[in-house]
Each structure stands twice: as C-alpha cells, then as structure tokens.
Symmetry: C2
Amino acid sequence: MLSYQPPLKDIEYVLGDLLDAPATLQNIPAFAEMDKELMMQVLEEAGRFASEVVAPLNAPGDEQGCRYQDGQVKTPDGFAQAYAQFCEAGWPALPCHPEYGGQGLPNTLNCILYEMLSASNHAWTMFPGLLHGAYSCLHQYGSEALKNQYLPKIASGEWLATMGLTESQAGSDLGLLRTRAVMQADGSARITGSKIFISGGEHDMTENIVHLVLARLPDAPAGSKGISLFLVPKYLPEGDGLGARNTVTCTGIEHKMGLHGSATTSLQFDDAIGYLVGEPNRGLAAMFVMMNSARLHVGMQGLGLAGASYASALAYAQERLQSRAAVRPPSRAGQAADPIVLHPPMQRLLMTQRAYVEGGRMLTYWAALLLDTAEHHPDAQAQAKAHGFLALVTPIIKSMMTDQGFAGASQALQVFGGHGYVRETGIEQYVRDARIAMIYEGTNEIQAVDLLLRKVLADNGKVLEDYLQGISDTAQAAQDGAFGACATTLASLINEVRDVSQAIGKAAAQHAALPHLVAPDYLRLLGHVSLAWFWLRAAQRSEALMSQDPELHAGKQNTARYYFDFVLPEVRQHLQVIGNAIAASEQANGNVFLPEILKQYD
Amino acid sequence: MLSYQPPLKDIEYVLGDLLDAPATLQNIPAFAEMDKELMMQVLEEAGRFASEVVAPLNAPGDEQGCRYQDGQVKTPDGFAQAYAQFCEAGWPALPCHPEYGGQGLPNTLNCILYEMLSASNHAWTMFPGLLHGAYSCLHQYGSEALKNQYLPKIASGEWLATMGLTESQAGSDLGLLRTRAVMQADGSARITGSKIFISGGEHDMTENIVHLVLARLPDAPAGSKGISLFLVPKYLPEGDGLGARNTVTCTGIEHKMGLHGSATTSLQFDDAIGYLVGEPNRGLAAMFVMMNSARLHVGMQGLGLAGASYASALAYAQERLQSRAAVRPPSRAGQAADPIVLHPPMQRLLMTQRAYVEGGRMLTYWAALLLDTAEHHPDAQAQAKAHGFLALVTPIIKSMMTDQGFAGASQALQVFGGHGYVRETGIEQYVRDARIAMIYEGTNEIQAVDLLLRKVLADNGKVLEDYLQGISDTAQAAQDGAFGACATTLASLINEVRDVSQAIGKAAAQHAALPHLVAPDYLRLLGHVSLAWFWLRAAQRSEALMSQDPELHAGKQNTARYYFDFVLPEVRQHLQVIGNAIAASEQANGNVFLPEILKQYD
C-alpha cells in the first residue's frame, strides 16, 4: 500500500521563495497577520492529518466502497471517524468567516489543504470537498435567516452539503433540467424531481445534509434562464436541533470506475421543503459565481493526484532493479542491473510528471492568491484585476491539472510496469480515481470553450493581453541571464499566441464553429505558456537564491530546463493544428466531419 | 451493456480496395486460393462468433472475475463453454499447419480474428491469445517428438498454452531470472522456481495446459545468454490421454485494474518434469523469434479496443442530446438541444479516434501481410524484405496501437461524460482492460528503444531508408492530385525524418544516453509517418474508386484530411523535442536529470 508524504518543502518553496505569498496576503487587511511561519504551521498540521488519518483509508475505502440499502448509505470503515476528527480539528472552518464560526484564513491555505487531502484519499475528500462551495454560495446569496441558521453548521462541518445540479437528461446542459419548485404562502418552496450523480447526497458521516438544488418555478422561462436555486435540508432544523425528516430520498448509488469510497447518489425529491437562495430564475448565475473556486478546487484534486503518483513512481524507480543503464554511474559498475530511475525513458516519465506537478503548484497557488485578492482586497481595481486573471486561468487550471492527474497517474503506473497493474500496489487506483475530474464541474472541453470564447474572444483579448504582458515582462527580465534562451523561446511564443488569438477571432467572425473546434488546442497552448512563465520565474529566482539551498535550487533549474526542452514543445502541435484549422475554415465550418453520420441531420 | 458490431465493411475495404491483400497472398503458393470472398467468409464467421458468443460475456466476466481456491482457478461463468465452441468451430487451428491439423490459413486472417475477439472481450481472448505464439515457437524449435505430441493438441485448442517468462525480480530484464533446470539422464529436465504474471497459467477451460518456461541450466552463463526454454505440461501425456500430474502448482492469481476475467497466475515449479525446446542457453533467442508475431498480436488488441471504444462513443454521441451546436443543421432548428455529435469538441474526440482506428487497420493489416510473406513466400529476397519491414513496424504497431487502445477508450469515456464513469455503461472497462497492453510483451518504452537502437541505428538506417523510399514514392505519385498538399507535407516530413535519424546517430556515437532519451519521441514520429502514408494511400485510392461507393470513399477522404490537419501535427512536438535533446546532448548525456535523487549513485 502506498503511503503519502506531504510535499511541505515544495509548498514552502512556492509560497515563500517563488510567490512571496505572505507579502501578497499582508496587503489584504483580513490577512494582515499572515506570515510564512503561520502558513507553514497550518499546512504542516494539514499534512499530518492527510498522511496519518486520511491516507491509510484510501486503499481499504476503494476495496470496500460505499454500500446502499433502503435509502441509506454506509461509507467505508473509518471514513466517518476520520471526518469527525476533521471537524474536531476545525478544518471545515478554515476559510469561513469568523462571524459564522470560521477561522477566516486565506483560500490559499484551503486550496493546499485540499491538494493534500485529495492526494491522500480522493474519495474521502469528496465528502467535505463541496462544503466550502456550498458555504460560499449561501454566504453570497442566502437570506440572513438562512445564513444564520445554516452557515455555522456548515462551517463547523456538523452538517455536510451537496450540489444538486445534474439530472439524467441534463448534465453539461443544465438548461434542460426538469426538477420543479412551487413557492408556498409561507415563503418556503416545495421541490419535486430526480437528481443523479450527487456526490455525498446520502451518507453516515453527519446527522444532517444540506442540499443546494437547482429547479424550475412554474412561470420560469425555458432553458438556463429559468432556473432557481433552493436549499433543501435532509432534516428540517428545529430550534437548535433537528426536526422532521424532509421528503428527499436517496434511491441508489453508482458503481463507478473509481472513487468507490465516495457516494455518488441519485436523489428523489417528493414535494420536499426547500428555501429559495437568491433571486428567482437566477440560480445558474449564483452557481456560476462560485464556479471559479469550485473549478480551482477540482484543479487541486488533479494536482494532488499527479503529485502523489509522481512521488510513488519516483520511490519505486529507485527500488526496482532491472537491466543495465545506457550510461552507468561509477557506483553501479559490476552490478547485474540498475535502479530503473537510471534508464532514460523512465527519467522522461518521471521528469515530465515532476515538471507538471511542481510547475502546477506554482500556477495554482498563484491562482489561489488571486482568489483571496479578488474576494478580500480592499482596493476595487486590485480586486477586478485579480478577478480577471482568475477567470482566465481557472479553466486552464481545471483542465491542465485534471488532464495531468489522469496522465500522471498513468505515467506512474508505467514506471511500475506490470506491478502497477496489480491492485495491491495502489497506483492503479490513482488512475481510476483521477479520471472523473476531467469530466465533472464542466468537462475539459467545456473549460476550453469557456476559455477561448468567453474569457478571450468575448472581451477582445483585453485580459489576455494584460496577462501576456506580465509574462512578457518576466521574459524581458530574464533575457540576459543563464536562462536567456528559455526567455527568448517564451517571448517569441507569446507573440505567436497574440497572432493566433487574433487570427482565431477574425476567422470566428465568419465561421462560428471554428473556435469550438480549436478550443482544446488553444487551452493547452495557453496552459503551457502559463507553466513556462512559472518555470522561467523559478529558474530566475533560483539564480538569486542558489547559495541558500543549492540542492533545492539546482533541482528547480534542472526541471525548468527539462520543461522547456521536453514538455513545452507540445505547443508546436497545437499551433500547427490551429493554423491548419484556420486555413481550412472555409471548408471546415459547420458539421463537415463524419459525413456518413452527419448526413442524417441535413 | 455495450454490444459489438464487427467492422466488416471497413475490414473488407482495407483488405480489398486499399491493400489488395488477395493479390499479395496469391503470390505465396500456400495461399494460392485466397480470394476476397473466401477471406470475408472466414471473417464474417469470426465476427459472428466474436459478437454473439464472446462479447456478451465481457461485462459479466469483468464483474465476476476469476476466482482462486487451493491451486484451482475458476473462470467466469460461460467462459469455458465459449472456449469449447471456439475449438469446435476450429478457430485455434486457423493459421496452423495442415500436418498438425491446422487449416493453413494466412496470419492476416488470424490477426483480424484476434482484433475482433479482443474488441469483444479482451479478458476471454487472453486464454487462446497465447496459443498461436506457443504453437509457432514449438513448431520452429521443438524436437520432432515434442511437435508430434503437442502441436496437434495445441492446434485443436484441446490444450491451451502459456509463456512462463516473468519472475518477481525479472520483468523487462529476463537476464535476471532464477528458475533452475537440471537435465536428466533420460533427456528430460527438472524445473524449479517461481513465475509470476503468467496469463492462463491455471484455469478450468482445458484438461491440460502446456507451459513454455524460461529457466537456467546449472552451467549456464550469467544474464540473458544463459537462459533455456522448456516445455512443462500440467499433466504428462500418456498414450493418447493424460498421465501423472506434474509438480507445477498455481499459488495465486492477481487482482488487477482490469482484465478481471483473465487469470494472471503465479506458478510454482517444484522439480517439475520438462523438455528442452531448442538449444541450451538459446531460449531467449527462441522467444524473440516469435516476438514479432506476439507484439503484432498485442497491437491488434489495442486496435480492437480502440475500435470498440470508438464505435460505442459514436453511437452514444448520436443519442445524447445536450446543448445547442455552434452551427446547427437545418433539421435541428427549434430543438432544445442537439445530439452531441454536432458539437465540434466532440467531433474532435470522435474523429481522432476514427483516424487512429481506420488508419491503424490499414497499417496493421499491411504488417500482417508482411508476416505471411516473411513466413511463407518462396522467394528468399521477398521474405527478407518483408522480414525487415516487419521488424521495423512491429514496435511501432505495438506501441502506437496500445497507446491508442488506452487513449481511445479514455476519449470514448469523455464522450460519454459522467455516464462513462459509471460501470454499467461499459466504457470504463475498456479503459481498465486496455491499460495493460502498454506494458506487457515489452513496455512501450522498450518498443521505442528497440525501434531506434536495434531497428534503425544498428543497421545504419538501411531498412528505414527502404521504408521511407516506399512512402516517398506514394507522396510523389500523389503530388498533383486532390491531396497534393498532404503529399507535400508528407514528402517534407520524410526528409525531416532522414535528417533527424542521421543527427541522432551522430550524437549517439558520442552520447550513449541520447537515443534512449529520445526513443519515445522517435517512435511516435515514425508511427505518424506510417499512418500518414496509409491515409494518403487511402485518399488516393478513393479518388479512383469514388463512384463505386461514394459514401465510403468520401468518408475516407474526409478522415484523411482530418488526420493531416489535426492528428499528424503531433510530429512537430516530437521533432522539436529531439532537436532540443540533440542540441543539449553535451550537457544532457548520462544521468543529469533529477539531480537530488541521482546524486546517490555518484
């Protein structure tokens, strides 16, 4: 069974050396007292909880899974106890507001907490994973009465929460949902309908569950503009305790490729009592406001699993002796076989994982700081700028990190060879668990369309240009240093991104299908520009800090070079595809592929 | 549950229109009577067996799995009966020699049979999957006595066979294996040791199992030059029946990510009676002679799963209604949502799958014809040329097709969205089952090193140049046609491959690690050149044949364009990586990555 070592040294490097996170946070009055020591103290504690309490339940939880019977869900042995400990230690409250019993700490710390929890046990982490999203949504849109009644219970973790969006006919397209709500004279509502794929919709971890449910009012417009948000508790609160059982029933759980320990439930609402959250017919908008943080959260899951996979593969590659290396270090002379970490193709697999994981940590923590700035900075302009960048990088992070969560787990499995395909080794569970994150909270294709159409083309590339300008400044500053060649590569890539963005915009005006067709390439392109930016920043920073910790900084510079030489070239593929698609856009607009299939729609 | 439709129309197109396989086979006296009708008759029958008998057992077999108790393995319900039907219909004998009861049909048909079987039920197909490899090995190296005793039983399928290679410390590096063999005065041997990961090492399908086992004789040289091959039957034959139980015991089966219906066994040999096959200490050479066909076989598994995944995704994409398409065909006006096959990012996923599957079919069937030519052509020069090409494309096929078996299953799962992550849909099983093929029969990294170091650099690129010349001829011929732009792209790519191959050779002379480092990129590069060759051939051929079947040929040309515009650009990435690696080879030779880790070996 695999163990989990929290990557505290790398976390400290990114928060301290690379980003100087405390300086950013101290600009925000709510976080004036954040310093690196305090941040690392919290994270060390979080790492201890993840590795000691949650990680040991990962493989057994996968083996045992959740079990459904007569409307009840039993979680794997130990899950509920671990959750009780989680609440006792105050982790649910970490980023919540002090007036509702929260600790008022930065989202950045919460993101890193969830990176470590997901890395330790993705399935278990699904239960508290939606808690903060529900909290934020309710905090922003709920009435005072609802907030006072529910937020303290959610912040303490006493009640867990769900997001009731998906129905069998309405997944990516929530406009199709059919669950109905009827307002009552007393201001409450009655909800009727069926939801599927609701994570944590029923379980034995908390006495109550708070469902946030999308439904239609009788007079609502069709499509996505007629959806309202309701709070539907499993038990109706009564005084300080629980009253009647509401008419929401769990009708089953899914048997899935992975995440066996997470209850993916079907829920039936039969005239269940609920309460409107926010304005009627504005439910989707309320959901989307919290999407940035929810998608960043899913990105952290991908990063966590990619990191755990990489660490396991690296450890195995040092243990496993097989064949002689092409170039043997002196210490190995005369041995029958070498550790496979000495084989260049294994080094490629490991270094690629490392470049994504460590580079991903830089990018995602930077984004988490943007979230704190966007939510808490006193200056409106600083807030708006952070919000713009965050909106731009969120689909990139969600998509790139979850792609790598799956790809990195598979790369790690490849390092383990046949042993990795065997369940008891543990690595194949990462592959199975990681796969879903490319789908939920908006498929990675939807992220790509969101990035290109909504975040880039819709504002004529203004935020993009600000973003690229920042990267360009880094490249400029690095031009004459030891990483000058990388800086030149990045600077010329930025110009290619500018050109190609304009060319797509121009072609899109004529050919509406084109941006949808190239969106996945565009996302990977901009994702690599982002990672390249951080690897160049890291290499530069390490130039200055080398003497403080030569091993750490030499490792960063080595990985930066690897990233530029071996990983970044993926952009050549995407630029060529986009160029080809634009060149062919006259012919390729609309539904020109799969002619035998698509003729049925003519 | 997913059903399986054998892709007979595409098979017929590739064998007939594209490759004119009957003409190639008729040049070989053993296959003088092969015509397209006969070939398709056999394959229609095979398709019926695969879809009607084997496919329905796929999901239940995954659910139930093999069960181990006290040395016995029980296969999933229905597996043994399906195997009995398989033997009754004479399928095991298809490519075997008539003198041993075989049908003497081409390997090409056997390859396509196994493509369909793997697509229907990869786990079940693992049982007969090794039969033909064992047959060939024994046919080429066994004594007359062994051949007469065992080959008829193997050809009829009455006895199944295994390959006993891997030990816990000896996977990719068979030179490390420790199983011992001692020759006896009567010419037999006694085998002692433990093997792991032996597919079909124990089961309830046949009364006897023939193990081909690698072991060391007492006086054998160390490493891979001291390995001998032995035949070790589960029961010793006696007259026409079975005699004593041999001392080979199944000590357990693995619980794996996928292939639950296939018994992956650990075997213990305790002074078991065996018989030397071939020369002492030449066992590995005997194994490697059959590697081309075994690796081609694994490539067919990848192709089969990629094909089944694509077909399922394509069907689902036409059923599932979700969101409105960017460009709606007239027939969809006014509808709330469109079939997702109309969404461009879904078309990308589907077309990419299609380009690999249909292109892969062309490449692999061509290789299968090379195998028939190499084995049966009366002209030694034709044989040698076919053998050279086959040796070159085998690692490409094994690697590219199994990469796509996994990637294509994952792409199909993405088309299914959240529903694809649920077990009952069936698509996630393809992902789990396909993953192992990137590892066994030589990991895809070993394939890459085999291709670049053994197949290209070791003969100074002579076979490669012949191969490229053939591709160049196709490009030349297509220069002035409707696909002239594709032909130009391919012609210039061939020159880049020539240049980069020479540059790697030159750099490798100084820097031994370099070719190992870039081998995975080189394999994908040459793989895409190969697929591009066949897509250009297909496009050209369809130009001439368009009027015969406009739908079929328009579809081929459409996919050819897609392949060149959207898939082939992957080569830009690999060329850039290889270029970067060569440029950095002074610094990057030996173990320069992961400095903090590798310093322990200094």
